[in-house]
Symmetry: C2
Subunit: 211 residues, 2 copies
């Protein structure tokens, strides 16, 4: 293959500015360096004038951290989340977490729900060439968690949002009450109300910092 | 928060060049634009002098496409891959696929294997606050697939590699024989020997292009 190497700064920069999605900072805690040495850009939470959270942009290009699965068939047909939970963290926040062991203000977790393909077995699984199990199917809404200590003082500084439990995802979402999401995170999630115990991507870093 | 907006071109560019990881191209099929308008950089396969594949770099920052699960307990204790299959695609290749409906030469799929946390139930599941199911545990090696029509003519232009079925991952890997991986992909994977039927992230694009 005959490829010309030419670094397209202007394209990268123009697109970043035009999209309005990325915050580049020259100082302060919003500056961070990813493991490969790149300067990490951050996407920060965006709100409507009345304080609803706007559906985060571009999450499928974020850092995937894990995908727990609690199928309906194993939960008397009524799992709270019968789908794959594809959990992503905003990459600029992750870079800071890697460096400090703390989730910075503005951290966003995006949990995209993805149905399993319909299964013929009693446990909801199906059989494919790779074996009997659970296979990803259609997307089915999303939940989002945002860290902002000033905005969410009653839930340890985290806000919880649901952008529908079906498609299409809502464009904006209102804060969920504490007893719907926050209380369970506060009671059982290992680190700073995040379920790091199910995400080695996060837990290995927590342990490195003694958390 | 008081943040200064300053675009750090030199840092981004210097790191990209220094790492040697990214190919920027001003023309040809290696140029591509991601959905958000950014110019997509590509990481292309790297080989040792004797033709072994070098473990791809930075895959956890790639685009996650899905995580099928075929637990041992549902496969008579001997699933080929009893772990979560966390499948990623190299982002520059994905951008081209989004635009053309074809996996370009140099496409890399990275399947990171991740054990489920030990479960107390007969089906290998465990019970947590979110329900009974399967939860991600330690990483456990990786499989990698590379598209190169000239290098892999006997397997439809795809090469299959294993970087251990345990940690740490191997630094390099030799090509696996056709009957170990390629033949099953060739027989049953929906699009260009890729299991798009289990990855709506890929399948929705294939359908858009009639594939």
């Amino acid at each position: 293959m005959n490829r010309k190497s030419a670094v397209l700064f202007s394209v990268l920069a123009g697109a970043s500015l035009a999209s309005g999605m990325f915050m580049f900072s020259s100082s302060g805690d919003a500056q961070s360096t990813a493991p490969d040495g790149r300067e990490a850009a951050r996407y920060l939470p965006e709100y409507t004038p009345n304080g609803d959270l706007i559906l985060p942009k571009n999450w499928r290009h974020w850092v995937f951290v894990g995908s727990p699965l609690t199928p309906n068939a194993l939960n008397d047909g009524k799992a709270n989340f019968p789908e794959f939970h594809n959990v992503y963290i905003e990459p600029g926040s992750f870079a800071i977490y890697e460096k400090t062991g703390k989730f910075p203000e503005g951290t966003i977790f995006f949990k995209e729900l993805q149905l399993t393909l319909k299964g013929e077995n009693p446990d909801g699984s199906r059989t494919e060439p790779s074996g009997r199990g659970y296979f990803p199917g259609p997307f089915n809404g999303a939940d989002v968690t945002v860290k902002d200590s000033k905005r969410y003082p009653d839930t340890d500084g985290w806000g919880y949002y649901n952008f529908n439990h079906h498609e299409p995802k809502a464009k904006t979402a209102s804060l969920r009450p504490k007893d719907e999401c926050g209380s369970c995170h506060m009671a059982s999630a290992r680190k700073d109300d995040v379920w790091t115990q199910f995400y080695p991507m996060l837990d290995d870093i927590a342990k490195k910092f003694g958390g």
